[in-house]
Symmetry: C2
Subunit: 192 residues, 2 copies
């Protein structure tokens, strides 16, 4: 997606070998008009799928998935990383291991908001090792629902998240795919 | 705001004397078309103000503030409750005391995204004791910027948040104001 790639080049920066900082438009400050176009692009990519719900995870997944859910005229659900004030015990949970923090965290979705009849488009901001996405697919499977596919804003193609998810049989659509962040230079996969 | 009040009546439930559960459309599942109308209503309420930035706090503040920022054509910034992977040390912080958890938490906004020239519309989902809103106004003041006003989706008028914020000299616009949740019944302020 050209507008997104230009935003990454002009407003993103390479923090370390493996980390792209896009706080200026995605992870702390949000460029809502770019997010609207991102949402519409996800809908275009999955227009061959039946989708009854969009599932993401707090916090950075909410803005990119907002307009996708709106265009599809379906609800948006965001998985919680820690218990909220009003979350009941009637929930699906999945464990996600974090390499960075060297710990396992539980994510939660209320059983009220996923049924076996659902066809779910999962959306998240980054795809790195794929653990978050697989936590979300696990929850969809527990609900007896169908994963329509996984939409990712920025894929780090030099990590194995995409491969891991595709090996599970899920379809991945990434709007930007980063081949490398080596030497603080951003190289997109299709630039090669 | 009628559509919001109807959503609260039809899809909200009273959890305890002081807590309204609206997970079905605001705090866990999101009704994006309602959120779009909420964003537009905030813009209408503040159309007499100059606004250069919208500031909210993760996670439930993001969806209600999204369309307000978009209609105003300004960036949306969400304060972080805990350090993210890419947050630098160049930040404004404020402490918020939680009665429920009996602890103090720090919220953070990067200095890159608030300047003294900014006129900031603060938006949040609930107004209860006002601590979160005052944490955000404190950050705006630290930045040398101006608080244009505070937009709240659901105000619990039986708590003193609004009074506390107004005593600080800030303008509050709440789209629904709840007089009481007594006996599991939802009574709006203007129903009296
Ligand atoms: N900016 C940026 N973030 C990256 C990058 N690679 C991974 N992340 C994000 O970093 C966070 C780290 O997740 P961990 O759960 O600790 O995962 P780990 O196994 O990769 O260490 C996640 O944020 P999150 O759960 O999405 O957090 P939030 O922003 O929603 O609060 C993930 O999306 C990158 O190159 N750049
Ligand atoms: N559903 C619901 N929530 C309420 C109500 N009153 C307060 N809250 C929310 O509960 C959370 C409690 O905040 P605390 O910081 O523990 O505050 P406290 O002093 O009121 O105990 C906040 O969620 P938050 O920071 O907005 O969390 P998040 O949803 O953004 O993750 C606040 O918005 C209510 O009647 N109903």
């Amino acid at each position: 997606m050209e507008q997104l790639k230009r935003a990454i080049e002009e407003r993103g920066s390479v923090l370390t070998e493996g980390v792209l900082k896009v706080d200026q438009f995605l992870n702390h400050q949000i460029d809502t008009s770019l997010m609207i176009n991102i949402g519409k692009e996800f809908v275009r990519r999955f227009d061959d799928c039946k989708i009854t719900r969009v599932l993401t995870i707090e916090s950075s997944g909410i803005a990119p998935s907002f307009m996708a859910a709106n265009e599809l005229n379906v609800p948006l659900v965001f998985a919680r990383k820690k218990k909220s004030l009003t979350m009941s015990d009637n929930v699906y949970t999945s464990s996600i291991y974090s390499f960075t923090k060297q710990e396992t965290n539980e994510i939660t979705v209320s059983k009220n908001f996923l049924s076996p009849k659902d066809h779910v488009l999962i959306i998240d901001d980054f795809l790195a090792n794929g653990h978050a996405a697989l936590g979300l697919t696990d929850i969809v499977e527990q609900a007896g629902a169908t994963v329509a596919g996984i939409g990712i804003v920025i894929e780090k193609s030099f990590q194995d998240g995409r491969k891991t998810i595709e090996e599970e049989g899920y379809r991945v659509e990434s709007l930007a795919r980063i081949q490398s962040l080596h030497d603080s230079k951003i190289t997109f996969l299709n630039d090669l």
